[in-house]
């Protein structure tokens, strides 16, 4: 599937993939999985990021952390394998892999806050060009705030990636100059994976490294964030 290839050389021609439409979330999960380093310790946030696990080959040796107290989490459990004592952070029954370990919550967040996790992939409402993240609260009147481990995850892992659709249902961009939703973390995101493209954030400029089904010029029209192009 060369159409999913991430541009790694130079210039708009290798960054843009205009021979296809935007990626589905499953395809995006596959792209992210390919960028997870071999042997790393990874936390996949609730929602879309959990799909990434389906695309991590066993031989990559990635160990999944779930903040409710486990390393070595396996796939979702079904049928007789469901054990109410074994769930992921989304409270979905899961399985354990050989070499798994269990620990209490203070230890689980200590290993997160202490910088021991290599990668965390989170969903988001908005990400700002400077790496600010908003993913816990819409701030709407009547909305019940619920943060869970989002703020701990945002500042904990060595690399924090975001996986999201680039545009909301109303067409508004979710990669923004400054978050308007309440912040989860400041300057914590390093890379944003979206259905329309991948962006390096948190540095001096936002760099688009690949696009799917949209040109860089069109992105520049639809985003209020100035874009540099990888190698461009």
């Amino acid at each position: 599937m060369t159409s999913l290839a991430t541009g790694t050389t130079t210039g708009t021609s290798t960054v843009e993939h205009l021979d296809r439409g935007p990626l589905s979330m499953d395809e995006l999960a596959e792209v992210i999985a390919r960028d997870i380093p071999e042997g790393s310790f990874v936390n996949l946030g609730i929602g879309q990021p959990t799909k990434i696990a389906d695309h991590l080959p066993a031989e990559l040796g990635v160990v999944l952390h779930t903040e409710n107290g486990m390393l070595g989490m396996g796939p979702a459990a079904h049928g007789d394998d469901v054990d109410a004592d074994l769930t992921n952070a989304g409270k979905v029954p899961v399985t354990e892999l050989p070499g798994a370990s269990y620990f209490h919550h203070a230890d689980s967040f200590a290993m997160m806050r202490g910088g021991h996790l290599d990668v965390c992939v989170l969903g988001a409402y908005q990400v700002a060009g400077n790496g600010d993240l908003a993913n816990w609260h819409t701030g709407k009147p009547g909305a019940i705030p619920a943060v869970g481990g989002a703020m701990d995850l945002a500042i904990g892992a060595k690399d924090v990636f975001v996986m999201m659709g680039l545009f909301g249902k109303d067409g508004s961009a979710k990669l923004v100059p400054a978050c308007t939703y309440p912040l989860t973390g400041v300057g914590c995101v390093s890379r944003v994976y979206t259905d329309h493209g991948v962006f390096e954030v948190g540095g001096d400029e936002v760099v688009v490294t690949t696009t799917w089904g949209i040109s860089v010029d069109e992105l520049r029209e639809r985003l209020d964030v100035p874009l540099a192009v990888l190698g461009g």
Partner: protein
């Protein structure tokens, strides 16, 4: 009376919990929720409780049942809003229960600090967010931190897998979650377990919560629920 007491029933185990108590309640969703102790607490009648837990109840069992019974004045938790938290949602939106949202890691560490005799600590979590409001900030080695204070309980209600006759506890899988931390952070820690095994039957190397943290233990038949609609 430092040694762990083995109680005959969950009702005996929760005797004496006063109105207005702060109660730490173990569990993550429904995994590790001390269902029998909470049901006994509902029968016991204590009210105006402040509950410290990760969630604010699922379905109508456990913590949700306590909320539904109208015994809870305030919930301090990380993640109240869930697919099946309708009991809490209704009470909160009607103004019948207070809510304080605490990031999950800070929640755990604040209880750990209470149990470990730490006066306060600096955490990088929530810096620059609305949850930092009113908190003292300090820059250490170029990084910003918030001052976080311990959370102590009058009581902790937790669920473990097995206890031995001394009150040492072992847990099962991710049902461990907050149990070992809460056990250290309350004046009186009450544990329900599926079995009390003879003293000496637990491998001392594998004990997770040493008996010094456990005040009362009761054996009950394990009940298991999964969160409906979780995905």
């Amino acid at each position: 009376m430092a040694r762990t007491q083995l109680m005959e029933t969950a009702d005996e185990a929760v005797a004496g919990i006063e109105d207005g108590s702060t109660v730490l309640v173990g569990g993550f969703g429904l995994a590790g929720m001390p269902f029998d102790l909470i049901d006994a607490l509902i029968r016991q009648g204590a009210k105006d409780l402040t509950i410290v837990a990760n969630n604010a109840g699922n379905g109508e069992v456990g913590l949700a049942a306590l909320l539904k019974a109208g015994r809870v004045r305030k919930v301090l938790c990380s993640f109240p809003r869930q697919v099946d938290s309708y009991v809490f949602d209704e009470l909160y939106l009607a103004g019948k229960v207070e809510l304080e949202v605490v990031p999950q890691g800070n929640l755990a560490e604040r209880m750990r600090a209470a149990g470990a005799g730490i006066g306060a600590f600096y955490s990088p979590t929530a810096v620059g967010t609305p949850l930092a409001e009113g908190k003292e900030t300090r820059t250490i080695d170029g990084r910003d931190y918030l001052l976080e204070y311990p959370i102590r309980g009058d009581y902790a209600l937790i669920s473990a897998h097995h206890a031995d006759g001394m009150g040492n506890l072992v847990y099962r899988k991710t049902a461990r979650n907050f149990g070992p931390v809460m056990a250290t952070a309350a004046t009186t820690t009450i544990a329900q377990v599926s079995e009390v095994v003879p003293t000496g039957a637990l491998d001392p190397e594998a004990v997770v919560t040493p008996s010094i943290y456990v005040d009362r233990v009761v054996a009950v038949e394990a009940r298991h629920y999964t969160v409906q609609g979780a995905r």
